[in-house]
């Protein structure tokens, strides 16, 4: 799979959709719910199942980034599967505000 910046992908096993906002080095496999994601305009393959080990869910609007490969993706649609790169969970990239309370 060619994970170019701007390319859009959908989960093979759930509703998750992502856009790649920074391409990785090398050519890793981007998975969701344990199965390799498919191009946004492609049909979902029949019979693919959500892997319980990758089922923490993906939330719309969140970013995920892997500092090793440099990939960053943005979830444009949420789903039950969680994202991974070559089988390794893709870490959430979230805002880092200082802790505060009133």
């Amino acid at each position: 799979m060619e994970l170019k910046a701007g390319s859009r992908w959908r989960s093979a096993v759930c509703d998750t959709e992502v856009v790649v906002v920074r391409a990785p080095s090398g050519s890793p496999s981007l998975e969701c719910g344990g199965a390799e994601m498919v191009p946004h305009d492609a049909e979902k393959p029949a019979g693919a199942q959500l892997d319980p080990a990758h089922s923490d869910g993906t939330q719309m609007g969140k970013r995920f980034a892997d500092p090793d490969s440099g990939i960053e993706v943005l979830a444009t649609k949420g789903g039950a599967g969680s994202l991974s790169l070559d089988g390794k969970a893709l870490p959430l990239k979230d805002a880092k505000p200082l802790p505060s309370s009133d």
């Binding site: 910046a5 701007g6 906002v21 719309m60 609007g61 969140k62 979230d94 805002a95 505000p97």
Partner: protein, 405 residues
């Protein structure tokens, strides 16, 4: 039909609740609001614990993000970087309103002050929400509503009963939210002026000024009557009209009577509470008599209201002529028939599931607004850049330069 502010574009460089709440109101009214956040830290509100409560994970919506940020798009820009500032200017070129909570020195050092932005867009309406105002010795000092609106603005001491050792505290965003609404009103007037007369305004609202407006009868009367501390509201024994005040129900809840012109409402009230014999009681025959015999009158009403429960009274008094209200808990507003009938609560689909937000209080054309959730940190960075004409190579270059998220 288009919403009232359809086609108006707002760029918001602001944090916490006060000024962002203005953006939320404008978004409710149909404006396109772009929230600019720091690419690493984001709006510090994202990390705020309020009254010991915090959402944003585990299926619990971050209510303090949703309420003042619903309906916006978020872009992560480091305005302090050269490329980031250029990008902000590009956004400003396309905007009608610039909305900020930053202090004067910060605006100047970041090159986002009035003159800086007017060079880029001479017609932009420049809006500053501050703690203490733009002039005076404390114009460079920040403000929060707890300190500036509630404490400095006189509310805390006006509301605290004398017997308490410490002043009472405000509720979350107690001054920020009416303040944000006020900013939105100012912006609407400025948009009209620009449309009608071609003049772009600088609009200023401070938490201090909002607090004083809300408390203006106390501010005025305390000076006129030379009273440092005005009587605390709700003191039943001080009140000359027993038809205004709180009464306890059989189950320990409270009702608020607010029948100012008491002669109009006394006979009906007596019948409503099942004590018509009070109508002709000479002690209570008119407003003045009830005032003279207020202790007796309050006792009689106390006894009557203690005969039924809160729910029974709500039914019993449904057709009362005078104004009264149940004292409701915030959670009870979710089932209040008037709230439901008027669409004052709206649901958005947040990242943590459904979240009920409160609509802004203005309704146009009898239509409650359809609202969208608050954006994630910098969620729309790439989308907005693409809309502005940047391509993916530019985006990657800006990311590498640290100018954007």
């Amino acid at each position: 039909m288009d919403q009232v502010l359809a086609g108006v574009r707002v760029v918001e460089v602001a944090t916490w609740t006060f000024v962002p709440a203005a953006g939320a109101v404008l978004a409710d009214w149909g404006a396109e609001v772009i929230k600019v956040e720091h690419p690493v830290t984001g709006d510090p509100q994202r990390g705020l614990m309020t009254s010991g409560l915090m959402g944003g994970g585990g299926g619990i919506p971050n209510f303090m993000m949703e309420q003042p940020n619903r309906g916006k798009r978020s872009i992560g820009i480091d305005i302090r970087s050269e490329e980031g500032l250029k990008l902000l200017y590009k956004l400003v070129e396309s905007a009608d309103v610039f909305l900020t909570s930053f202090l004067p020195a910060a605006r100047a050092s970041m090159k986002i002050d009035v003159d800086d932005l007017r060079k880029v867009n001479p017609n932009i309406i420049y809006v500053r929400g501050s703690g203490n105002g733009q002039r005076g010795p404390e114009s460079e000092r920040g403000g929060y509503d707890g300190a500036t609106y509630f404490a400095r603005g006189g509310h805390a001491l006006a509301l605290t009963p004398g017997e308490l050792e410490y002043p009472i505290g405000p509720r979350a965003a107690y001054g920020d939210l009416p303040g944000g609404m006020t900013i939105a009103g100012g912006i609407a007037a400025a948009l009209f002026r620009r449309e009608r007369h071609g003049v772009a305004s600088v609009v200023d609202i401070s938490l201090l000024s909002c607090a004083m407006w809300t408390l203006s009868p106390d501010v005025m009367a305390s000076k006129i009557f030379d009273l440092p501390k005005l009587p605390t509201g709700g003191n039943r024994e001080m009140n000359p009209n027993p038809l205004v005040g709180s009464y306890k129900t059989k189950d320990g809840r409270f009702l608020m009577l607010c029948m100012l012109e008491s002669d109009r409402f006394w006979p009906d009230l007596c019948r409503q509470i099942g004590h018509p014999e009070l109508i002709d009681d000479p002690r209570f025959k008119d407003h003045a008599s009830r005032g003279e015999n207020k202790t007796d009158c309050i006792r009689a009403l106390d006894a009557a209201f203690a005969e039924r429960t809160f729910d029974e009274w709500k039914e019993e008094l449904a057709d009362a002529e005078g104004v009264w209200s149940p004292y409701q808990l915030p959670i009870e507003l979710h089932q209040d028939p008037q709230v439901l009938a008027n669409g004052y609560l709206r649901e958005v689909e947040s990242d943590q599931g459904p979240c009920t937000v409160v609509a802004n209080p203005v309704q146009f054309d009898e239509t409650p607004p359809d609202l969208e959730r608050a954006p994630q940190h910098g969620e729309h960075t790439e989308t907005l850049l693409l809309e502005l004409g940047y391509d993916w190579d530019d985006i990657i270059r800006l990311k590498d330069a640290g100018a954007i998220l």
